[in-house]
């Protein structure tokens, strides 16, 4: 890519089959996307198993695990209340999976020729499924607990009757757009960061390989910039995972407590 000098930021998002597998006319190959999801699962599993020794005096590892579980526990308790405790495992799984997938996607594996890190969460199909899972949990819990009273979600208590024709469509639209916005936020944030890093990485390579003084200057500035962008990306990875968990718990709060 560097030799051609053409910047191709979308190439890193291609899904390639690693183990081709076809059943009938369906392609269920084991792709690099699936491989990275399995990798994030392994990372989470190792992290959790290493820290679940239940020692009376916790070591560093156990403190890290307890910090993570306590963080999600607090998040759920603050946003849903005491009744939200049974949703903690769901929120925790969402948060850790998104966080692990995001962070693994930032690994500088491209140093090994022919390899490149892949972020499953930079695909709308993955984040869409996660969002649909959380949205359907909201619907199931809402209708399970409140039956048809769940529809009162669309009319906040205390709304004057003459405002109802205006409020109800707005609330319905804002409710229906939730899974879409949830998925879109995560997917675009991850994709934008990776495109940015790819573009500036290409600036460095192309600038240095041009051999001119101007090219060297552009390469140096791009390098300084990409260090900052890399740090920002780490922040965004954690922030997007947190925002996904936070919004899911807020939506669950609507379903559990109505409003």
């Amino acid at each position: 890519m560097a030799a051609a000098g053409k910047i191709d930021p979308m190439h890193q998002f291609t899904v390639e089959p690693l183990i081709p597998l076809h059943i009938g006319k369906y392609d269920i190959s084991f792709t690099n996307s699936a491989a990275w999801m399995v990798a994030s699962l392994v990372v989470i599993a190792v992290f959790m198993w290493g820290g679940m020794k239940r020692e009376v005096v916790p070591g560093r590892w156990q403190m890290a695990v307890e910090g993570l579980t306590g963080f999600i526990d607090d998040l759920v308790k603050v946003n849903i209340g005491p009744e939200g405790k049974k949703f903690t495992p769901f929120i925790f799984s969402l948060f850790t999976f998104i966080l692990a997938a995001n962070l693994l996607g930032l690994l500088p594996l491209a140093l090994v020729p022919g390899w490149h890190a892949f972020t499953p969460t930079s695909h709308f199909s993955i984040t869409g499924v996660l969002a649909i899972a959380s949205f359907s949990l909201v619907l199931i819990v809402g209708f399970w607990r409140h039956g048809l009273h769940f529809f009162s979600l669309f009319l906040p208590a205390g709304t004057p009757w003459y405002m109802a024709p205006l409020i109800i469509p707005i609330e319905i639209v804002s409710f229906m757009v939730r899974p879409f916005s949830l998925a879109l936020r995560l997917f675009v944030a991850m994709m934008a960061g990776h495109i940015l890093m790819e573009v500036f990485g290409s600036f460095i390579v192309n600038g240095l390989s041009s051999g001119s003084v101007l090219g060297f200057g552009v390469g140096t500035i791009s390098f300084l910039f990409i260090v900052g962008v890399g740090a920002l990306e780490l922040l965004i990875c954690a922030l997007q995972a947190y925002v996904f968990a936070l919004l899911t718990s807020l939506y669950l709060n609507d379903a559990v407590n109505l409003h």
Partner: protein, 75 residues
């Protein structure tokens, strides 16, 4: 004007939206910091709302970015 250059101009115009989202996100964090410095004791309890506001403001910028990408790569 041919279609290819019109596409590029359109994508550039769509990317202006990300800048407006930057104003929104800056406003959210600025206002939070403003009030957090007035009452630091209450600041920690409001972090969830801070990130909620951040997420809602950021979404619109990301949508503008998506539109730019759609214009560039899909149509």
């Amino acid at each position: 004007m041919d279609v290819a250059s019109a596409k590029l101009i359109g994508a550039g115009l769509a990317a202006i939206g990300t800048g407006t989202a930057a104003i929104g996100v800056g406003f959210v964090f600025g206002q939070f910091l403003n009030s957090a410095l007035r009452n630091p004791a209450a600041a920690d309890g409001q972090q969830g709302r801070l990130f909620l506001g951040f997420a809602l403001a950021e979404l619109l910028g990301l949508m503008a970015f998506t539109v730019a990408l759609l214009i560039l790569f899909v149509f």
